[in-house]
């Protein structure tokens, strides 16, 4: 489910009601984590930044105005800015390369199905090969589940630009997977 049916009420209540915040957290955690992980690659870094995102969400809940838009784009604009701030503090090229190097050992859950893990790792490696802007737009689309117009508002691009960037990024991703030897994309 993309949106919680009562999320506006929950967002209003969450500032003083821990249970409401936990409900929002449970719903948004996988999407925000996946969004952040797609952008930064490394699992430990993704955890730290996801944590920061939710702390920012909580501390700014009183600024959320339902009349100006849905909760999800508001959440992902905070997630987007948190990761962008991180990249501003760091050298993006270094981080991206480090992320690629660390991906091979990013997970250590032996019990997880090997095939699933391999697919995830391959996808993460391929995503890490995209440029930062492209990766951000792909992540906002697939894990933010946002329209091109909402993504445009968050990134400062035009809606049609977002569509073209997304299409070209996915084409590049397919080629990267093909060169990595993933047969279904050859």
């Amino acid at each position: 489910m993309t949106y919680l049916p009562n999320e506006t009420d929950l967002a209003i209540k969450a500032l003083s009601d821990s249970e409401a915040f936990v409900e929002l957290f449970d719903h948004y955690f996988p999407r925000v984590y996946n969004y952040v992980r797609c952008r930064v690659g490394k699992s430990d870094l993704a955890e730290d930044l996801t944590s920061q995102v939710f702390e920012r969400i909580f501390s700014r809940l009183d600024t959320y105005r339902p009349e100006y838009g849905l909760f999800a784009p508001w959440v992902f604009s905070i997630a987007h800015n948190t990761v962008t701030d991180y990249y501003r503090r760091k050298n993006p090229a270094v981080v991206s390369l480090a992320a690629v190097e660390d991906l091979a050992c990013a997970e250590d859950d032996i019990g997880e199905m090997v095939a699933l893990k391999e697919t995830r790792d391959i996808l993460l490696q391929a995503l890490a090969c995209l440029g930062e802007r492209d990766r951000s737009i792909v992540a906002l689309k697939f894990w933010g589940n946002l329209s091109n117009r909402r993504i445009a508002e968050i990134t400062g691009l035009s809606g049609s630009n977002v569509g073209v960037i997304l299409y070209r990024a996915m084409k590049r991703l397919r080629i990267i997977l093909s060169t990595q030897g993933v047969k279904e994309y050859e």
């Binding site: 449970d26 996946n34 992980r37 859950d109 996808l123 697939f142 049609s160 299409y167």
Partner: protein, 96 residues
Amino acid sequence: MSDQVWAERFSKDLDNILAGKKVDGEFPSDEYRQLIDLSIKLFKSDFSGKRGTMQKLKKRILSRIDKQKGKNTGEICEEDLDKVAGGFKVIITEDK
């Protein structure tokens, strides 16, 4: 056709996928079909994997939020309560 035209078609198909709807089976090319397959795969991907990650982070975040609340209200949060020397009055005397 230009990238702009394909991008518009792709965006429409993508929005259908994200809304849980089926995409029309008539694909203009093998490459396009692969892009749709890849999109479905990405949409279904969950990198958070282990439930433990979520629980660990939830605990950490709620604890920090608890601290933030404590700062605002002047109350001591659960975590910091452990550090309080409850019940003892500490008197520091100088050696003379």
